[in-house]
């Protein structure tokens, strides 16, 4: 994997917020990249910083420190005017298609708005392009005259995807893109996202809590806990052989269709602590089933393992999860 293949990356990125008198380190010294045409997933629970990282990558939430690069060029400090090419190329799809589409606009306006902002296109040109985009996401081109409120959740998410594609971006960041949808609709959107990637060689950054979905869609996965990356690697490797005990616990927590997974489940104690009062040493140690005394005092660095894997744990690979693999013929 050569360096120049990275299309979007973050180096030593931190995002902090002032909360009353404390400092909330939502994202703490994170290195991240996505290659051209690749899908990278960011997984973690509430407070892990996964959404803040995503918002920071599109330069929506400003980083406190660190750098963001797009196609080799630093975009961290660019003015809004100079950011235009970046904005065109890095688009976002949000979780809730009920709140991410303006109810006062018709679908043609929703999809046409980015075209208006970036290109000098007439209204009829925009509508023509919007209709094409609707067809490409599996909807009827005539829908441009209707309002988003007239559509079901799955249809709305298709409209949101059409809007994200309007500027022909190279990267789409999708934050829980199917978790607000019904199961049968989720599969439609997942398949659509895959088809779009095949057709356009787009890169995805997928933020999700659903490890089965992550395994299905992503080539690489980054696991975050309390603002830090605790593990990353190829999906196949990470799921088959998790190195961090938190990853093992997350995998083990996936509701299972089989008995064995339930029997051997790793159930963690308690809930993730507040990112304002992060535990000393390894942040995960109070919940970790294999923690030793040193874990409370020393902080494990994210260290490299073979095959592009990384883990931040003094006892990598010690805790394993039972994962029920299925195999299709």
């Amino acid at each position: 994997m050569s360096n120049d293949n990275k299309i979007l990356s973050a180096v030593d990125l931190s995002v902090s917020f002032k909360v009353s008198n404390a400092l909330l380190r939502a994202v703490d010294s994170v290195n991240f990249y996505v290659n051209a045409g690749e899908t990278v997933a960011i997984v973690g629970e509430s407070g892990s910083g996964k959404t803040t990282l995503a918002l920071s990558l599109i330069r929506s939430t400003p980083p406190t420190s660190g750098q963001i690069f797009f196609e080799g060029e630093e975009v961290t400090k660019l003015s809004e005017k100079n950011l235009k090419p970046f904005r065109k190329n890095v688009q976002m799809v949000f979780q809730d298609p009920y709140s991410s589409l303006d109810p006062r606009m018709n679908v043609g306006q929703v999809i046409g708005e980015p075209l208006k902002a970036h290109f000098k296109m007439s209204k009829s040109e925009r509508n023509e392009r919007a209709a094409e985009l609707l067809v490409s996401v599996g909807l009827n081109g005539d829908f441009i005259d209707r309002r988003a409120s007239q559509f079901s959740g799955g249809q709305r998410q298709r409209i949101a995807i059409a809007r994200a594609l309007a500027l022909d971006p190279k990267v789409v960041i999708a934050d829980e893109p199917v978790s607000a949808l019904d199961v049968s609709t989720q599969a439609q959107i997942v398949n659509l996202l895959q088809k779009i990637q095949e057709d356009r060689n787009i890169s995805y950054v997928l933020v999700s809590h659903d490890l089965r979905l992550v395994y299905h869609l992503a080539t690489r996965v980054v696991v975050m806990y309390l603002g830090r990356v605790v593990e990353e690697g190829n999906c196949d490797d990470v799921v088959a052989n998790p190195q961090h005990p938190y990853t093992a616990a997350l995998l083990s927590a996936v509701p299972a269709l089989d008995e064995a997974t339930r029997r051997d489940r790793i159930v963690l104690n308690g809930a993730p602590p507040s990112p304002i009062a992060r535990p000393t040493g390894c942040s995960f140690h109070p919940r970790c089933p294999i923690a030793r005394p040193e874990c409370a005092t020393n902080t494990p660095e994210l260290q490299s393992l073979p095959n592009g894997r990384k883990v931040a744990c003094f006892f990598p690979g010690e805790l394993q999860a039972h994962v029920s693999f299925t195999s299709s013929k």
Binding site: V183, S184, V190, H209, L211, V239, L257, A271
Partner: protein, 317 residues
């Protein structure tokens, strides 16, 4: 109480411009003592309305007919006083969002002991002992201190444990839990699923969920609902290993799995009928690849745990 809870021909309808329209369309269901059953379905399947109407707490515009027999009483025809007595004592509910279901200005202890004392002749001290006992049994750490807390001082997972404690405190025969883990994080969800599977004492559980894996994780039996009807039911292993209704099979094929080959997901085309839509024949027919003229001409009856003219054969992968 060691008697089964029986739901007979339960129908829940709402007024529409063209008269009443049913969202629960004549459900028959028996829940044995201590059994854990899951009601699985997507939005609009009627699963939540089934649960609410079993407790008699459906929206006031709803019209409910049929019977829900709890002990020797029919919840549907019972007067308010009787229904109130049954709720909590015989049947109780856990909702998805514990923060909005608990009273924000009262301590955990005061909410739980009120519920105990409403149904039992007990002193305040006795009630508090019972509260401590139940909070301990649902796995709340430092329960004595937690009794003095307000709901907002607890994490989402602890709040849901309090909700479950509140549902269990009067030793009901049945707890109805509607998407109790949907709002929770993965590792917290695993904790609550454990509790629902093995920490409910003698109470039966009716788990309402959209997630077949959650249902399989907790329950013995799965009941699949579609557009107001039960379309299939059976033991967990049967439903997952050999689903006979095309809708059940469709739901299973639509979920991503840990499969190295990453076979494409198979979505169910289309969407369920809306409340006002008039459907002739099987309500799933328009989305079903097995459907033929028989399916659109008449509605299949629920026989031998299945409502389908063309059951799918063969083991699912």
């Amino acid at each position: 109480m060691s008697k089964a809870i029986e739901v007979k021909n339960l129908q829940v309808s709402f007024p529409t411009p063209n008269g009443y329209s049913a969202v629960v369309r004549g459900i028959d269901l028996t829940i044995k003592p201590g059994e854990r059953i899951a009601i699985v379905g997507e939005s609009g399947s009627g699963k939540t309305m089934l649960g609410l109407s079993m407790l008699g707490i459906q929206p006031s515009s709803a019209k409910v007919t049929g019977e829900v027999i709890i002990g020797d009483v029919d919840m549907v025809s019972a007067n308010d006083a009787t229904a109130r007595k049954l709720r909590g004592n015989y049947i109780s509910m856990v909702f998805q969002e514990p923060l909005t279901s608990l009273n924000p200005v009262r301590t955990i202890s005061s909410q739980l002991s009120e519920s105990v004392r409403r149904h039992n002749k007990m002193s305040k001290a006795e009630a508090e002992d019972r509260v401590l006992e139940i909070l301990t049994s649902v796995g709340i750490p430092a329960p004595k201190e937690r009794m003095k807390s307000y709901p907002h001082q607890l994490s989402g997972g602890l709040r849901q444990r309090v909700m479950i404690a509140l549902a269990l405190i009067n030793k009901p025969a049945l707890v109805v839990a509607d998407e109790p883990t949907t709002a929770l994080d993965a590792t917290i969800q695993a904790q609550i699923l454990d509790l629902l599977r093995s920490g409910m004492g003698d109470a039966a559980l009716m788990l309402i969920t959209h997630d077949l894996a959650v249902a399989a994780d907790v329950c013995n039996r799965i009941v699949v609902m579609y557009a107001g009807n039960i379309v299939e039911q059976g033991p967990v292993a049967e439903i997952l290993g050999n689903p006979r209704h095309p809708y059940t099979r469709g739901l299973l094929n639509a979920i991503p799995k840990f499969d190295k080959a990453r076979p494409p997901l198979m979505p169910i085309p289309g969407s369920p009928p809306t409340i006002t839509e008039v459907v002739s024949g099987c309500r799933f027919a328009s989305r079903c690849s097995y459907a033929d003229s028989q399916c659109t001409a008449s509605e299949p009856k629920f026989v031998d745990n299945l409502a389908c003219f063309h059951p799918v054969v063969g083991v699912s992968q």
